[in-house]
Subunit: 347 residues, 2 copies
Amino acid sequence: MTEYKIALVGFGGVNRGLAQLIADSNPSWQATLGFSLKIVGVTDLFLGSIIGRDGLDAATLVRLPAAKGAFAQLPGGSADAMNEEVIKHSGADIVAEATFTNPVDGEPATSFCRWALQAGKHLVTTNKGPIALHAAELKALADAHGVRFEYEGAVMSGTPVIRLAKQALAGSRIKGFEGILNGTSNFVLTRMEEGLGFAEAVSKAQALGYAEADPTADVEGFDVRLKVVILANELLGAHLGVNDVSCKGISGLSAADIDAAQRDGARWKLIGAAQRSADGSIHASVEPRLLKAEHPLAGISEAINAVSFDTELLGAVTVSGPGAGRIETAFALLSDIIAIHTAKTGQ
Amino acid sequence: MTEYKIALVGFGGVNRGLAQLIADSNPSWQATLGFSLKIVGVTDLFLGSIIGRDGLDAATLVRLPAAKGAFAQLPGGSADAMNEEVIKHSGADIVAEATFTNPVDGEPATSFCRWALQAGKHLVTTNKGPIALHAAELKALADAHGVRFEYEGAVMSGTPVIRLAKQALAGSRIKGFEGILNGTSNFVLTRMEEGLGFAEAVSKAQALGYAEADPTADVEGFDVRLKVVILANELLGAHLGVNDVSCKGISGLSAADIDAAQRDGARWKLIGAAQRSADGSIHASVEPRLLKAEHPLAGISEAINAVSFDTELLGAVTVSGPGAGRIETAFALLSDIIAIHTAKTGQ
């Protein structure tokens, strides 16, 4: 009977989704996964925090209203976000960090990550900021403290891309990759192929909840750029910063461009890519590319994400699936916890 | 310095490919994978056999002519295939079985597999026969003898499909799958979309080495059926035999069928599939299906294979890549050996 105590940092959609999975499935995980989870603390800058070393009821947490200071409504809860206390002193074995992405300095998430690792907690996160900007430092911290640091969900939510490349493709060197790494922009391009203009397509994405009120990060490639940095550093051994990746979005594509491509049986896609050159240097970019029908990413429509790896022994190996979503991203945290358990038990 | 001693059973394209990988990359694997491999025995019904407990030179083995009894040309080699001796008594830690697929009773490969496991050797194979027909018995043998039994390459050669589903997607229950699991038939369908008739397309596949002189197993779905049995039993917990899977190939598709699909923006694909019903029963089939453009498998052309998993938490997750090839399939054996090493070292 292995039980991991877990602290949730950030209680928006993703960690609420994890609490939902725990509420729904924890009893069966002992049989199917070999462990169960006990939530011992939750903290959120907006909602406040709560510690319950004997275990908090996941279903109760899921029902918490999204109101400022709402944790004060629960026995023992507080309207204050006692982040450091929850991370370091709730008795957690594992910290699940899922606060907002700050693409400039990765804060406050990166500090939360440092605290967890320094306190000897395993760390799982879906947050692109700390990984794109500070992965090397955080990995070194994890190693120094003998704990695991897993972040499968930072690139394609629950669709396994890092683990596919690093584990299942181990032994076949990855020379580069191309990816459709932003669902919103791919949704917009799919609508433009149906005849909508760029602005109309963005409005439709906003109406359906795919795009934010300010769609810049999605359509100008900034979101993809963070993911390219993560994958290039992780899979190609690059040491890229955000500014090492050239970045051009899809806002310059016209209806005429889309039409011309379709007449040729081709499709415009926003591609995040990196490739190792013969001299060992890594070239990385985000840009619209015109893909012929036979390209492994040409068939990826709607808000689906995909990455095609250029591998030494297998050629192109491609994985596609959801790149966002509350439960999908929460599953990434669960898959990270499964990986921690697997590493501990050698199974 | 971990070194695994390996015996190669069957020395056609696949194990010759593994010997090639060893010749090319063994010195670097100690650093990149944490182990090296030493070939201590090889046996092949046509070529004969050789045992070299201190290690056989992989490059020399790769150069062996494909002539009857050729192992007798090497010092210590024999024109006789001393299968049992090589499997049980060459000192191997791992046996790599890559003889021909017998879809009727899985022999002689299944006996080779039993000998290896009973002798306490880890077993890796790319052979569909023993897995489709006798996986449960062989798994029980492996458990009883405390050794690993890995067969990633039995479905899609080196493209990781079993490991993706069982490891990277662990925690998100798989409800079913659809796959394009035969490169030859997919190549034929792609050529038919370009205007060739069925017979012409098959001839082209034969000319390029994709199809055998007798293309029946590829185009009538029998090859796919074995893979459906393997995946359904492995991933859905089914207990299917070959005759539990309905099977219809592509030879009945006419040029008019292909044309009509194309006019609708759809494509005919030979789909191997299995799905768990609400009552827990598993329905499995091989048949041509008309896929709309947005289907995750609709974009898979040429000889590429792909499987789309229907998962509980992520919806459709799809992986595509090569489904055949000498080095690609040899890589599957390497990836199985990596999995054995990972399980041993808990990393």
